[in-house]
């Protein structure tokens, strides 16, 4: 039975759906953090694709992810009428999803090496922040996917979760790729 929007039961279900999405994301973030803490870091290179080194590859893949994230944010603004005056063209929605999926895809080798080879590091502020936000990023991603697929959530939920996801990606880039380009060199392919 459909409930009238704004009714107490409707609001309760919306909050419950949001709570489950957040809990699922938190579980993923905690699981990644637990793995990073418990796993003995391998301290080894994996693959470099077409780059000169694993760190070079990671710095550039993270940069690609950030650029895709920026495109995704712009397209989200277009979809929700925050950018542009006319209604968004039909390609905006699928392109938004494509950018998000590709962004996740290019982060996977980066995250894998971070977790498997380096682990959850706390020996400097940069590494600690990076480790925490690496876990937060994937947790926020799971929460966002669940929010997108739920029609019950309050209207503010998706922008907030998407904002957390993008903000975590930005800080992850600042604490890794920017550090790499600044300390090792640019472009350092």
């Amino acid at each position: 039975m459909d409930l009238p929007p704004g009714s107490a039961t409707d609001t309760g279900r919306a909050n419950a759906a949001l709570l489950w999405a957040v809990l699922a994301g938190a579980a993923v973030a905690l699981a990644l953090g637990a793995y990073g803490r418990q796993h003995e870091p391998a301290g080894q290179a994996l693959f470099t694709l077409w780059f000169s080194g694993t760190l070079n590859m990671k710095a550039w893949l993270a940069t690609v992810a950030l650029l895709l994230g920026i495109v995704q944010v712009v397209l989200a603004g277009r979809m929700y009428g925050k950018l542009g005056r006319s209604p968004a063209p039909a390609w905006v929605g699928p392109t938004h999803r494509l950018c998000g999926t590709l962004a996740l895809l290019v982060t996977l080798p980066v995250a894998y090496h971070c977790l498997w080879s380096l682990g959850f590091q706390t020996d400097s502020t940069r590494r600690y922040v990076h480790s925490v936000l690496g876990c937060v990023f994937y947790g926020a991603f799971v929460t966002k996917v669940l929010c997108v697929r739920s029609a019950r959530l309050p209207g503010w939920a998706l922008p907030v979760v998407g904002g957390v996801l993008f903000a975590s990606l930005v800080v992850l880039w600042l604490t890794s790729s920017l550090w790499f380009f600044d300390n090792v060199g640019f472009p350092s392919f």
């Binding site: 080894q44 290179a45 994996l46 080194g53 390609w91 699928p94 895809l105 894998y112 977790l115």
Partner: protein
């Protein structure tokens, strides 16, 4: 058409996620090769090959760690003592080798990176 592309990319991504999660638990790191006996021929080269090449590349061109060959090590450490200190104490993600290599071995491997790599 675009929706179909998105769907395919999502499926590929899901498969890659699953593969990486499995690899996190089944991928065993390679065991380090024993340190060669002191005084063997080309000790620096042997030490480099067994202790450094996995991160800095067999030819010193870099991999997980930065490149060292083609004069890079000399450029970054004009004084060899500074490079020996880094190899000895470690820096960043690189472990220190003070506990596993003798001072003579540290000197030999550093010398190799400065003169024997490209």
């Amino acid at each position: 058409m675009l929706d179909r592309v998105v769907h395919i990319v999502q499926i590929v991504t899901a498969v890659v996620v699953a593969a990486f999660v499995i690899l996190l638990f089944v991928n065993e790191p390679a065991q380090p090769t024993p340190v060669p006996a002191a005084g063997t021929q080309d000790e620096g080269a042997t030490l480099y090959s067994t202790r450094c090449a996995s991160c800095h590349g067999e030819d010193g061109g870099g991999s997980f760690g930065p490149a060292l060959g083609a004069g890079v090590a000399v450029g970054r450490f004009p004084d060899a003592a500074d490079q020996i200190a880094v190899v000895s104490e470690g820096r960043g993600s690189m472990p220190g080798f003070a506990d596993t290599l003798t001072p003579e071995q540290l000197t030999a491997v550093v010398e190799y990176t400065r003169t024997g790599l490209g």
